[in-house]
Symmetry: C2
Subunit: 330 residues, 2 copies
């Protein structure tokens, strides 16, 4: 398989999971000291991941959780952010100025920051009070922190069962990538030169559609996209879709599956260029169906990792190159 | 001026403002009975308006306010929605099934619904506990309700001063439309056939950019768009912008103005096809600068009303026609 590093996928997952004990201790300490609310702060891709997480949390947890885009937080403020707030962050490079500024903004108001920054001596890492450092995807990192808070609040009864099964997660995500590769390649070959990609995702996959369109297709592959939530698809964007428009639907196993099904039923009546990527087609051995809800964004990320790699090859556009990002100051 | 009904603009504003006394009474009663939180529930355009309102509220009010897309609320739920919740809604037709379902979903959980529905015998109006009915824009309707809650919470000290000046709002919005007409027409003539429109908006204009792109350009004019927040513009979308890309920036007078300025400074380095619509260029006589923050979405809506009308003419595409919406069942 093209550019496929099975060992790296597993290592990323397992190194993140290995930090769970430390996260649990730190969260228990925070709960003991008392906190009022959590702020999931991100920007670009990490903002999208925070939105993915929030789509689950708002229906399942009574903890006061707010999602903030780092740049918006600095510009507009938030009355709920204060001494009893915990900012939860993730970052790969730790080098995004807005994130460091947002954390400093919160700390000036008495809040604490906890989270994962891959590069431990980066500007963001240096201002993070409770720091974990490892490679790997942002969603699992957020999930570990948030589930620890939910466990402390008595909200996630199957906590032990869940983590017993998470030893299969690395293998599971490898198997998803393998199983999705053929379809991802066919999609890339068929659509790499399309002049526009519409990406529809609902629930926790609204963030996935947003991120895939913006961080992968636009930023790394210089392709034109519009992402739209399944909820709002019928309230505007549908009118621009015609027979030949390229529409991709991200379908998950969360509460919003019915919304994706509605889009899926409708589209073939007006469009002959629809591709559906459905996480349900990619089981992970050893992981029960009851946990597919909160794992939906990770399964979809494994699927679109393969799409990106094949688009990179089909377009002969290395994903590492940037026109402006980190090349110009702005 | 093309399709310009000055009297209708003023009537819409004044009829909405005339309901303020009733809103204040009802809100005072709710506060007296006790409530825990407010849910701004919308879908499509009304969801975008709720986001516009929220961009202000989160930095200025300590009231617990949540924004929900009606379809997402039904699909995913929200643990904060309960007996002490007030759902705040607006709708023109009252005929959007997801909105009625969302209100019923909330009422089953003990919540109350209050809000504006133009058509008083519509399905949505019939399930709304506290109903106001008049024509006019959604933002002012939400604003009147939310400011009444803020006043009760002692959060909007200049309440009387604000409404003393609101007698000038109708005339003010007329003057904005008149002043913006020439630029809007030039924009429409120059860009009506562009194959893609990027619309950037920050803060309360993130929702405006979203709504303008989706509800006007896509739905009513069948134009391809991508809207993006000023906050995330630098975290993906910028890479797809090159010399000839058509980029429109919505610049307001709210907290996020600095973010828009950052985009405005950067764009000319990589693009020669940038148009900035800045609410600050359109004063409204009799209304102080201190209130331009919360009026920013209304000023921008007055500006883009003129853009739409000139695009309609330039494209010879009547805005009333729909391919699918209310033509097919889905």
């Amino acid at each position: 398989m093209l550019k496929f590093d099975e060992a790296a996928i597993k290592t990323d997952v397992d190194e993140t999971l290995a930090l769970r004990g430390q996260v649990e201790q730190d969260v228990a300490q925070i709960v003991k000291e008392g906190y009022e609310n959590l702020f999931l702060v991100g920007i670009g891709g990490t903002y999208a991941v925070a939105e993915e997480m929030m789509a689950y949390l708002k229906g399942h947890s009574k903890i006061n959780v707010y999602v903030e885009n780092a740049a918006d937080l600095i510009a507009e403020g938030n009355t709920k952010l204060g001494e009893k707030s915990i900012m939860v962050i993730t970052s790969a490079t730790g080098n995004t100025p807005e994130m460091t500024e947002a954390v400093l903004y919160g700390k000036e108001r008495g809040a604490k920051a906890m989270g994962f920054v891959d590069v431990a001596d980066s500007p963001l890492a240096k201002v993070t009070d409770i720091l974990y450092s490892c490679r790997g995807g942002a969603y699992l990192k957020l999930l570990i922190i948030l589930l620890a808070f939910m466990k402390e609040a008595g909200e996630f009864a199957d906590y032990s069962k869940f983590y017993n099964q998470m030893k299969h997660l690395g293998d599971g995500l490898v198997s998803v990538q393998k199983a999705a590769d053929h379809k991802a390649k066919a999609f890339a070959l068929a659509h790499c030169d399309d002049d526009m990609h519409y990406i529809v995702g609902g629930g926790s996959l609204k963030g996935a559609a947003y991120s895939y369109a913006m961080c992968y297709m636009e930023e790394m592959l210089w392709m034109r996209t519009k992402s739209i939530s399944a909820a709002d698809f019928f309230h505007g964007t549908l009118e621009i879709i015609d027979r030949d428009c390229n529409v991709t639907l991200f379908k998950g196993e969360d509460g919003a599956r019915t919304q994706a099904e509605r889009v899926e039923r409708f589209l073939p009546r007006i469009c002959k260029n629809v591709t559906v990527f459905d996480t349900a087609e990619y089981p992970m051995a050893g992981i029960d169906g009851e946990f597919r809800d909160i794992l939906t964004p990770m399964v979809m990320a494994a699927i679109y990792a393969r799409i990106s790699i094949h688009l990179e090859e089909a377009k002969k556009h290395p994903m590492d190159i940037r026109r402006y990002y980190h090349r110009l100051d702005y």
